[in-house]
Symmetry: C2
Subunit: 730 residues, 2 copies
Amino acid sequence: MLNDRNWLITETCFDLARQNHAETIFTIGNGYLGTRGAHEERYPGEERTTFIHGVFDDVPIVFTELVNAPDWLDLNLWLGGEPFRLTEGEILVYQRQLDLRTGRLSRRVEWRSPQGMLWQLAFERFASLANPHLLCQRVTIKALENTNLEARTTLSGETDNLNYKHWDWIGQGFGQNSAWLHLRTRSSGIELGAATRLVVSGGGNLQQSAWDTRNAPTLVVTTQLKSGEIVEIEKITAFYTSRETNDPQGTARRALETVPKRAWKGLWESHARAWQREWERCDVLIEGDDRAHLAVRFSLFQLLAAAPRQDERVSIGAKALSGYGYRGHVFWDTEIFMLPFFTYTRPEIARNLLSYRYHTLEGARKKARENGYKGAQYAWESAATGEEVTPTWVPHPSDRTQLIRIWTGDIQIHISADVCYAIWQYWQATGDDDFMIHRGAEIFLDVARFWASRAEWNAETGCYEFTDVIGPDEYHDHVDNNAYTNALARWQLKTALQVLAWLESHQPQKAAQLRDQLELDENELAHWQEVAEKIYWQEDAQTGLVEQFEGYFQRKQIDLQALEPRTQSIQSLLGIEGASEANILKQPDVVMLAYLLPELFDENKLRANYEYYNARTDHTFGSSLGPAIHAIIACRVGKPEEAYEHFMRAALADLEDVRGNAHDGIHAASAGGIWQAIVFGFGGLKLGENDWNTQPCLPTHWKRLAFRLKYRGQTLEIDLFNSSGKAGEE
Amino acid sequence: MLNDRNWLITETCFDLARQNHAETIFTIGNGYLGTRGAHEERYPGEERTTFIHGVFDDVPIVFTELVNAPDWLDLNLWLGGEPFRLTEGEILVYQRQLDLRTGRLSRRVEWRSPQGMLWQLAFERFASLANPHLLCQRVTIKALENTNLEARTTLSGETDNLNYKHWDWIGQGFGQNSAWLHLRTRSSGIELGAATRLVVSGGGNLQQSAWDTRNAPTLVVTTQLKSGEIVEIEKITAFYTSRETNDPQGTARRALETVPKRAWKGLWESHARAWQREWERCDVLIEGDDRAHLAVRFSLFQLLAAAPRQDERVSIGAKALSGYGYRGHVFWDTEIFMLPFFTYTRPEIARNLLSYRYHTLEGARKKARENGYKGAQYAWESAATGEEVTPTWVPHPSDRTQLIRIWTGDIQIHISADVCYAIWQYWQATGDDDFMIHRGAEIFLDVARFWASRAEWNAETGCYEFTDVIGPDEYHDHVDNNAYTNALARWQLKTALQVLAWLESHQPQKAAQLRDQLELDENELAHWQEVAEKIYWQEDAQTGLVEQFEGYFQRKQIDLQALEPRTQSIQSLLGIEGASEANILKQPDVVMLAYLLPELFDENKLRANYEYYNARTDHTFGSSLGPAIHAIIACRVGKPEEAYEHFMRAALADLEDVRGNAHDGIHAASAGGIWQAIVFGFGGLKLGENDWNTQPCLPTHWKRLAFRLKYRGQTLEIDLFNSSGKAGEE
């Protein structure tokens, strides 16, 4: 299915004003770490950042964050005695390309130095997907006259996270052409061992030295070049942390020692093969729309680049490993938006991501306990331990005496159901009974217990209610009986009982052990059943409209059209209070529910709710999570062009920075939503217990849409053609 | 008067567990910068810090802070190939001494290396008081066998403030034996130029190299030593910032170039002379109590080390330049506690400190305006601009969802009167009419305008009131009619009218210009008079007791004795709310007033209020500002031994860390209070318009107390002897 088009993200202008956006776009990664696309040489205002999964450390206000690792890209050149910097001299050729097929970032430059010397340079880098501890760089340099060059690389422990430092120095040293550094995070005590090696080929009179500057060991090589001669510098870096080994420093040094001196070719080939295998499992083909096709592949690339393959104690944060936004914290974004891509194409990775929720159950139990509930209440923002790390207060942008209270960590409770939803979906898709028996069931039971203890009995209405919550639509907080939350809670309670029944019939011993461990008795199970049956639910029998929360229909009516064109969100325009009083949504809420639990919405009801809420949603500057979901439902109600508009809003969030915030990192949930829009929206895939079918709904200008996925041991190859304006199944 | 005893602070144990306390104690400075007493070589947990006056930069939560400059102390030795570190090998001799007479810190070490080689080392450092841009270090090294040594020094721009980085790199380079570095603060844009030079004498086969590591230029020298030979390494560093010159980098490099190659002797002699001149003006002699004597000198040393001599746009923060506590912010501590020492011994420095308040008038006007008042309201915490920088919210120590609101920046309003009180005191002591005409008067008038606009008319009581304030006693916030605040406001308004009258008779043009500039009309002046006459004031006619604020007498009675012995403050024991509801004081409030405005308290009233409030004050763990003031009033009511107890509580706050927080920096207000306790407490000095006298009250074991000060152009030499238990005047 792989074709040769639409794999390359290209930049032809060196523009410092948009360098932080470009750093996000040119992020590379291998599921162990992600590295933003800073240049080898340094520029003011850059955000040179490498995040290693799971390496969190304490920080004020946001509690914990992924730590910026030592910069493995650092490579500074002095060409004929002049420092190579694109801000000086003249740029004759500049081309930077990220090859999505292999995760290789390359840069070709022809540069005239301030003193007039001409140079041709080609830089390449990749983070090995075959051995994720190895990071590879190469630069080839050609001068057009006899001259010399010096290359310096520093392994520095002085990196910071937006000014905040996390590393303490432990030690450093040098080997043959190599340097190593040993660090420890200041609060969490995670150790990092880094080792780097520089090998130069070509040139003459090669001289090497090592600068043992504290916390910044530096390798320096100088060489003579003849006119037209090509010198090649190969730099390999190894990272290990104490999360993988008791001796990260020794392990990193040994890892480097096992790499042959001219390592590039071998490392490259195994890396490229690994990426090829990835794409064979998940590539998507769109014919007739190169822009959309490239954007889809970019989204999948970023998800694959951040996906933990060797580690089941980490998950993917809202910005993957590509920027400081949300500091690496994990939200429902992972389970509801990103996970289906992995569940259906890379179930091993999905299992790792879901196992993270199993390993952080203690954090969720602690949160429930501290809030006065039973069971497990997952953190709205989760990091190393699963404890709640949502910032509670953030500085007011203009008034120094004010702070803004962030309530999501307190009352956006639907995430505990979302986690279970993803487990269920994974189980249905993979049939991985082992996961359900040993991990999933315990989560299901402890989350059900949370819901039952959180539900409030209202004798007047005869209902169990969930008051004072935030649903997916975060413009409205402290609401009662959010439809999404209530429906997911009901689904979770019922499904938990199903899971327990299944476990009791398939693994009675495990079932007994869990009931014992959790002290689950029949009264409690009966209570779950009762709560599930009596959860508050309201819909208009005539219109089919589901009210997003109690009183939503009475919120102030705002004419969204009258506010266009906008460059900021409705919340920014109206203020937090103003947006809360209005009926505008940040993102789909009832529509989100209709996507996740389609059985609750027949065709008319789906259409009615979509039309109603779609017209009242801040699509452009509300949540980036929304557009892909709207695209799917638009397809389901037969509106492919409207779906396409939503879809492209999601697809261009990063590449074209349509929200103006891509410098903070990619929109990983949107990236996952894009895959779902392809498969379950335009592709119209329906998966049944024993069968599947597609009800495609392609935009008219798409000639072909093809994708593949795994379902219950089968590989489904779906290839849809749009002939005479109508899509058909091959 | 200078004698040879009690000048040396000595440490004979190398103890990493108390290294941060020792860093505070061994802080040296020259009024341009202060440097904590970290060792030349590095140890885990150290806080290597140099603060340069006025170099502030933005930071979360506390808004702005003094920036940790590059570390000029860095000097690492490899002795016979082994790194010199006291945590390895064996320490045979260790002695560190701060000579208060010259501000020289020295360290003598005999060390057996892990491989068994014996070394004798002597380190010295001083920050030149003669040329405050020059920082001097020397180490002499002797080996007892033929061997070699290597010395490295790095000028690093990677310093941080408790993990937070403030510097951006601009450039670096090398000269003859020297390195330079050019930095800029990230938010405030202050540039720093630093240059350092290493000169080695003795040894053989000297080799020098330079490591051009980015942001960490490093000088390396190696040399051979014969058995018994002494090698001397001299390191001179120069700092300039863009606050002093447009070209800090060039200026620092040139400053270093003008220093001769063997610079130590000349630099040392001019430096020591400068310190001698300082001590000649202000030394205090105590015979019969070496511990107290040394503590007094230590206090004066720290004040002198932080006193800006060349800069009238900075002031001394609550921890001087010796630690991160309060981040360099300036409080009333300066005017009320530290300033009298300078006013009476170094009026030129007092003028600089008061000029800082003149240059920050715009910040004070802004604060008044933003709070809805007229005139100038000084910031409770002030930094570069005079705008309010008190943190408004700080994290709760145990509950992540809670923050603690700091109210002092909003309602601790007495500081505006305190600033004027210090100006008035300075004017009375020095007769510096020029200052009053060109700076003081404007401050007085604009502050009076603030008080008049802040006063609230209460028709029921027929009084002007100040409700919702915090007085000096910060255990009680949001109180009405704090006695201290009301009395100081009344004093300020009346004195402002006096100042204006004086100005009109002595400098009618300036008076007219000010009235014009401030748009002061007769109605407003009449209003000031009326407010001053009708400010709320309550005292018990029978007992003479002044109620600290309305309702204080009804606060819950706490038996302080019953809570002894304590290791924490009453506020820590009872909680913020609990302490607020109780009648325990953090520090003197009515007693503070009795000290500043003694004319309001006759002898009986003074005694009654002292006895009453003294018994209700948290002397040990409340504010460190209190003990010195209690000592003074105890003397005035004839209780020298009780005074001594209070006094020593202040005197040992730093040296013996009696409050357990000296690692954050010295207690600069306490240091200033100690001088006042010597002069106005034990010495009993009374200054009249045309005369002065002493009513000494020496502790029985003091044999002699002597000090000198300047008053209205005279030098007063006061030498008090305690013969037969009674002090007399010479």
